[in-house]
């Protein structure tokens, strides 16, 4: 503790300088420790470089390590002084009989990162790559990418040496480091360095059994990027990877899952695929309840990907995603998200019952997300609609304060009414929801209330008075609310022309001079239309479609054609942010999925439920309405164990999809402002 604390004043540096040059060894050592402590807290002690390296003459390994640490830190600031240490390194590498010292020297040598020093490094490094001792070899192998990064031009001979080593090396740990090191160089150079052949694959698989946990991860991670030549090869690799599912390190298990899932695509035996899925699922579920929340989080962030490509793995297992009371909120949010995705026409009751419990949680953000999830389930699954509305209405009954969850409740109810207008009758929902509209205090929830007022004006007592209240405060509202108020007021006017005449006049006067062009334009359009032909306005704002059919079932996170690339990168940072590597890192090349189609692995379909039929029917209508767009997506979701072949030009279709949606939005006029929200992540 004595080492930390005060800033090094000028005087202290001088004191250190004196101590470093003292004849007493202990004093020197203490001084070196102090120097490192200053370095840690971020003080510049580079001026002491010469004095520090002089201390290297002692054969004390602890001190040597500290000095090396110092050199690595400051070598680039003092390249000329660093040259003086080179002899020391070369001596250690060549002369020392102690493998630990040889390894330490070559490891530190590589970290100097001064281009003009690197040429002195090549020869000793070559020696170390061919050293008898595996400990030195595993260190030397990792030294090559260090040099390559700074001076790639002097490295060809080293790379050749690495390739040769890959052929003949038998130590598992060295092999694992070798693979990792060559991959690092591949990333920097952009060229392929590892040439896999049957023999090397065999060797790697053997090494997985023998090396330390990290080594197993390097090798499995690497194998996940390889495309096997045929079904036979895929089968062999999977078979050799299976035992890793029982490893105690969750990352090893997870990497094994990744390799197996990736290679499933290459198997041509459907029965085997099914059996493998049965083996993978329990391992994956164990990882989900891992007792380190951070690790659990990374796994959870990858589940949506697995769910999308392998729905079969979590069949009947929605329970594993239930939140426990003491989990951190970042875990709970992920689980909530997954529960919505995994929900289907069979298990929605179970999911909704669980979500009902979460409404009692203390954290308002979490409750808000829960409400959003309930709304999403209601909108996605027709069968769940009644139950979900009952839950939300029950919640509304107990509301006495304008809290955050209330805002979400109003927004979700608007969406539900949009999907199915008849829901206003359910459990007297309209009456109860209307009783809490005064608690709305966010633009979105206020606009939802305005929408409800306009849409259901005839069922709400004193709706005109309420609208008057809104119009009185028109200038203070957010643009979003203003736009909705315009439409809703016009709707109400058409329903009660005589009562609303002055109201609409007042609204137009205050809105026509708005600073916002959208608000202004909309005001003028309604104004003109109302004064020429109110019938046209009626068709525009009061359309009675009954149910919306184009609330699509799209809860998918990934583009289907990206699934294979995403799967290869399972566990990586990019996947954690639900992106492809090249979207997050500019230096990574876009990897094009050269598989023609993406297989989706579903369980066996049970006889269709009615809801499914209805869904299909809806989709049929959709297709007509929106022409080609949804057809492709439908096909992709078809039962996988029959290996249906979906078409491969999804990209176009998705674009069309978006365009069409946009057009649709416009056509259906302004009521759909919030509709795009449906596709957002919760």
């Amino acid at each position: 503790m004595a080492y930390f604390g005060n800033n090094p004043q000028r005087g202290e540096l001088q004191e250190l300088y004196a101590d470093l040059n003292d004849l007493n060894f202990e004093k020197k050592k203490e001084a070196v420790k102090k120097v490192i402590a200053y370095m840690t807290v971020g003080k510049d002690v580079s001026d002491l470089f010469q004095s520090v390296i002089k201390c290297l003459e002692f054969n004390d390994i602890e001190m040597k390590k500290l000095i090396y640490l110092y050199i690595v830190n400051y070598s680039r600031q003092k390249p000329d002084d660093a040259i003086m240490v080179i002899q020391n390194f070369r001596k250690d590498v060549r002369k020392s009989e102690n493998p630990l010292v040889r390894a330490l020297a070559i490891r530190t040598f590589g970290c100097l990162r001064v281009p003009k020093l690197n040429e002195y490094l090549i020869e000793p490094l070559k020696d170390c790559i061919q050293d008898d001792d595996p400990y030195v070899r595993k260190t030397a192998v990792l030294c090559v990418p260090k040099v390559y990064e700074v001076s790639p031009e002097i490295c060809p001979a080293l790379l050749e040496l690495l390739q040769k080593l890959l052929e003949k090396e038998s130590n598992a740990l060295v092999l694992a480091n070798l693979i990792q090191s060559m991959r690092e160089i591949e990333v920097v150079s952009g060229k392929q360095l590892i040439n896999l052949n049957q023999k090397i694959i065999q060797k790697l698989l053997l090494a997985v059994d023998e090396c330390i946990e990290w080594g197993q991860i390097f090798i499995l991670d690497y194998l996940a990027t390889y495309n096997p030549q045929d079904s036979k090869q895929a089968e062999i690799i999977i078979e050799r990877t299976l035992p890793r599912l029982s490893h105690i390190n969750p990352t090893v298990t997870f990497c094994a899952v990744k390799v197996i899932l990736k290679y499933l695509d290459f198997l041509d035996n459907g029965e085997l695929v099914k059996n493998l899925c049965k083996k993978v699922a329990p391992s994956l579920i164990s990882l989900l309840s891992w007792n380190q929340p951070e690790v659990q989080y990374t796994i959870l962030r990858n589940i949506s990907l697995i769910l999308q490509k392998f729905p079969i793995l979590f069949e009947n297992d929605v329970k594993v995603f239930f939140c426990s009371i003491n989990e951190p909120y970042y875990i709970k949010y992920e689980k909530l998200d997954i529960m919505v995705r995994i929900c289907d026409s069979k298990n929605f009751g179970q999911v909704l019952n669980e979500l009902l419990i979460y409404l009692n949680e203390a954290d308002p953000h979490f409750v808000r997300k829960t409400i959003k999830s309930i709304g999403k389930i209601a909108i996605t699954y027709d069968k769940a609609l009644d139950k979900a509305v009952s839950i939300l209405v029950e919640l509304a009954k107990n509301i006495q304060q304008p809290t955050e969850p209330v805002q979400e409740l109003l927004i979700q109810m608007q969406l539900i009414y949009k999907k199915n207008k008849q829901m206003y009758k359910h459990d007297e929902s309209l009456k109860i929801i209307y009783s809490i509209v005064d608690y709305a205090n966010e633009p979105e929830s206020k606009s939802a209330c305005a929408w409800i007022l306009g849409e259901f004006g005839e069922f709400i007592p004193k709706s005109v008075e309420k609208m008057k209240e809104y119009v009185d405060n028109f200038q203070m509202e957010d643009r979003l609310v203003q736009l909705q108020l315009l439409t809703s007021a016009v709707q109400l006017y058409l329903k009660y022309p005589s009562q609303c005449a002055t109201l609409i006049q007042q609204l137009i006067t205050s809105a026509k001079d708005s600073f916002n062009p959208d608000v202004r334009d909309r005001t003028y359009i309604y104004w003109r239309l109302l004064s020429t032909d109110p019938e046209v306005v009626k068709n525009l704002v009061c359309f009675n479609s009954g149910t919306f059919s184009n609330f699509s079932k799209d809860l998918r996170l990934w583009e289907t054609q990206d699934l294979v690339v995403a799967l290869e990168n399972m566990g990586s940072i990019s996947n954690l942010f639900h992106k492809l590597p090249h979207q997050l890192y500019k230096n990574i090349k876009i990897k094009i999925n050269n598989q023609q189609n993406v297989k989706i692995y579903k369980g066996e379909e049970k006889p269709d439920t009615q809801a499914q039929d209805q869904q299909d029917e809806n989709n049929q209508n959709n297709k007509k309405e929106l022409q080609q767009q949804s057809q492709q997506q439908q096909l992709q979701d078809v039962d996988l164990l029959n290996f249906d072949e979906p078409s491969n030009n999804n990209n176009n279709n998705n674009n069309n999809n978006n365009n069409n949606n946009n057009n649709n939005n416009n056509n259906n006029n302004n009521n759909n402002n919030n509709k795009t929200d449906l596709f957002e992540l919760i």
Partner: protein, 431 residues
């Protein structure tokens, strides 16, 4: 891979700072310390991305252990490595890991960091192994000059059995097995089981000479089906279904995958041989039966009956049942035949403690709760009742160790000891 490893205290001050690649500047890290650690935002998510730099971190008590990177690393591995690093430090500092001991041993920590990671790639990070060649105050000079010993050391470290040093000798060969199960249960208000599982762990303390090969057997259904029945033997024990098993690195996984046999050469001393997860046919040791009544506006009554469901000759110990009470609780009067129940305001609940509790036994606690006045109109959100306990010589899953066979060249007969214990994990009953 990883660019740097940093230890930070809760104020956002850097304690240890080790750079492996120089694509990161110190100011980026200090920014993270100031913005994230000092504001406690790090509690919100284990990975934070700021301008292309990813900050992956775990928090151990007050210390944030951070790995930074600019490339697309395997996050799960990085997190696991950080946990392993903390484990190694604890092994060196006698189980401690706090600001004081980090500052005291910073030289040693730098030495460890130099060894467990190279160029941002995780290397040997096994505490027992590291202790062989990294020691506080440097290694003994005898070792540094004994080339034969050093060779043996590096070949162990890089070999296939890195966890066990050769040539161990014990005068008395002994093995201790501990089967520890935690039961996680969530029961609904009506008492139906919503979720139940057992997370088990088998801890081994191994004091054996030489290079013993061990074979371990449990009443695992899948294994027992494979075994040929001995003629004349009629056994009713069909074994139990284990959902998933995870093994220590010493267990030969391919052999388990093929034959479901658990074979291994154990490390020396204490280690966790395996963990397992079971969801079928769980024997819950306790049943909780709560009754909740509102007696008027300012009075509540909660009655909790518990029943032990294990054999009479067994005992549970250290029971603690936590019954939640509202925030505005003014006074609680409790009444029970055994144990002590007390309102503990800081826990927002009544804690009912019982030292020793026999099998097949029922006990009742009655709490009358007087509520104070409150301005908060929100109805009380009732958290679940939770329970802690230990039941020695009982396994909730029904798991039994059937044999542990040990083969060693010397042919010694080791003494074997075994203990079972079941503990409460998250044992919850909704109120």
């Amino acid at each position: 891979m990883i660019s740097s490893i940093v230890f930070i205290n809760h104020k956002g001050e850097i304690l240890i700072y080790r750079v492996y690649k120089d694509d990161i500047t110190r100011s980026e890290t200090t920014q993270f310390c100031a913005k994230i650690v000092a504001t406690k935002e790090n509690k919100e998510c284990p990975i934070i991305n700021i301008d292309g730099t990813s900050f992956i971190h775990i928090t151990i008590k007050d210390i944030v252990v951070l790995a930074t990177t600019k490339v697309n690393v395997n996050v799960a591995m990085t997190l696991q490595f950080l946990y392993q690093l903390v484990k190694v430090c604890r092994a060196y500092f006698g189980g401690e890991f706090d600001e004081n001991c980090i500052k005291k041993h910073f030289v040693l920590i730098y030495e460890i960091l130099d060894e467990v990671m190279d160029y941002g790639v995780p290397q040997i990070a096994d505490a027992d192994l590291l202790k062989k060649y990294i020691q506080e105050g440097g290694l003994k000079p005898e070792l540094m000059n004994d080339v034969e010993k050093l060779k043996q050391l590096t070949s162990q470290a890089t070999g296939a059995t890195s966890w066990r040093p050769p040539n161990l000798v014990y005068r008395k060969n002994e093995v201790y097995l501990d089967v520890i199960e935690s039961v996680n249960v969530l029961m609904s208000v009506k008492g139906t089981i919503l979720k139940a599982d057992v997370a088990g762990s088998i801890q081994v303390k191994c004091l054996l000479s030489g290079m013993p090969e061990c074979k371990f057997g449990m009443n695992d259904k899948l294994l027992m089906q494979r075994e040929p029945r001995k003629p004349g033997q009629t056994t009713t024990d069909k074994g139990i279904t284990i959902d998933d098993l995870k093994f220590h690195q010493c267990v030969k996984l391919p052999k388990f995958d093929k034959e479901r046999a658990i074979t291994f050469i154990p490390p020396d001393g204490q280690f966790e041989l395996m963990t397992y997860r079971i969801t079928e046919n769980i024997n819950l040791p306790f049943k909780i039966m709560p009754v909740y009544n509102e007696l008027g506006k300012n009075k509540l009554e909660i009655r909790v009956k518990i029943k032990s469901i294990f054999e009479k000759n067994l005992f549970a110990t250290n029971l603690a049942i936590k019954i939640p009470v509202p925030k505005n609780t003014a006074n609680v009067s409790t009444n029970s035949a055994i144990g002590k129940a007390k309102h503990e305001p800081d826990q927002q609940g009544v804690i009912w403690r019982i030292k020793k509790y026999p099998g097949d036994f029922e006990a009742l606690l009655r709490c009358e709760i007087d509520l104070g006045q409150t301005t908060n109109q929100q109805p009380w959100i009732k958290p679940p009742i939770s329970m802690e306990f230990q039941v020695p010589m009982f396994t909730a899953s029904g798991l039994r160790v059937r044999f542990l066979r040990i083969y060693e060249k010397a042919g010694y007969k080791p003494t074997k000891w075994i203990r079972y214990i079941t503990k409460a994990g998250e044992y919850l009953h909704r109120l």
